[in-house]
Symmetry: C2
Subunit: 162 residues, 2 copies
DNA sequence: ACTGAAAATCGATGACC
DNA sequence: GGTCATCGATTTTCAGT
């Protein structure tokens, strides 16, 4: 699907505040509320906008330990790796990567003991030969992506030196 | 701040759909709309909910290349590393980690040429001695975290074998 | 095809209990 | 926290460009 400048600005506004009213977004980009709604509906139907979510402080949900785990697998079919990792709810993201490892998964755990159990569970998957983990010491930055041309003003600055 | 079961369910609903009405959320969790709003306002004021954002297909914004870059730094002060990486808009997340590297940053780029320039720019930072990148081949899974006790039903299943 | 205007419905939100 | 009332937002319809 082709996005024009108005679509991109609407998306930027929604990334900045997903609960903004269509009227407010329209005021920012120069459209009426119905026109904004029609475009958002179109963007959602096209799969450009996948949904709207709340940004929650992970520690408030009980996630105080975070790790990135490299997986070395027997079979490197992406679908099989996905099936292996998706069943563990602590896995928040996973991708296949270049380099020695086959996949990199991002894991949240309530503490290091929990993390250890999760890594053991993942390592016990048939397709996983071994794992290599790095534990996150402190999260420095976490923001939404803007469009390549755009300035970074639309990025949600939830940067925190906790 | 202390979250009770109702707060957690409200957060789960907002993570599932940040544009849900307070009445809809209330129907799910068994509260009236004003009661839900009061709790959400409280959660926002407490910093538990940091904001609301749209989940956008990165490729639609022009991001087709993704990488994780390990940084080896001279000074490992988290604040200095944050200052080094935050100025690059392509960096979407960064954290200090255990292991050989000092930090791990997640980078989005429009293509591999762009990625190369970004990594060069980061590597040229005074605090960075060297970098080690892995390029993402395919994103398998990307979902929101639920609370440790909760089932993973609230996780947004944007899993795709692209 | 996409826009804005108008109208009806629905949601947000403050006052009060 | 619930109820109610008000105000604003959403969403459909319709017509203009």
């Amino acid at each position: 699907m082709r996005l024009d400048a108005l679509d991109q600005r609407i998306i930027a506004e929604l990334m900045r505040d997903a609960r903004a009213s269509y009227a407010d977004i329209g005021a920012q980009v120069g459209l009426s509320a119905p026109a904004v709604k029609r475009r958002v509906d179109r963007l959602r139907a096209a799969g450009v906008i996948k949904g709207f979510t709340a940004l929650v402080e992970p520690s408030a949900l009980g996630w105080t330990t975070e790790a990135y785990v490299e997986l070395y697998c027997t079979k490197t079919s992406p679908a099989e790796i996905l099936a292996c990792v998706a069943k563990h709810p602590e896995v928040v993201s996973a991708c296949t990567v270049t380099g020695e490892a086959d996949a990199l998964v991002h894991v949240l755990a309530s503490d290091v003991q929990h993390l250890e159990r999760v890594v053991e569970r993942i390592a016990a998957e048939p397709c996983v030969v071994r794992t290599k983990s790095v534990i996150v010491l402190s999260r420095l930055l976490s923001r939404a992506a803007t469009a390549p041309g755009e300035p970074a003003v639309a990025a949600a600055p939830m940067a925190a030196a906790r």
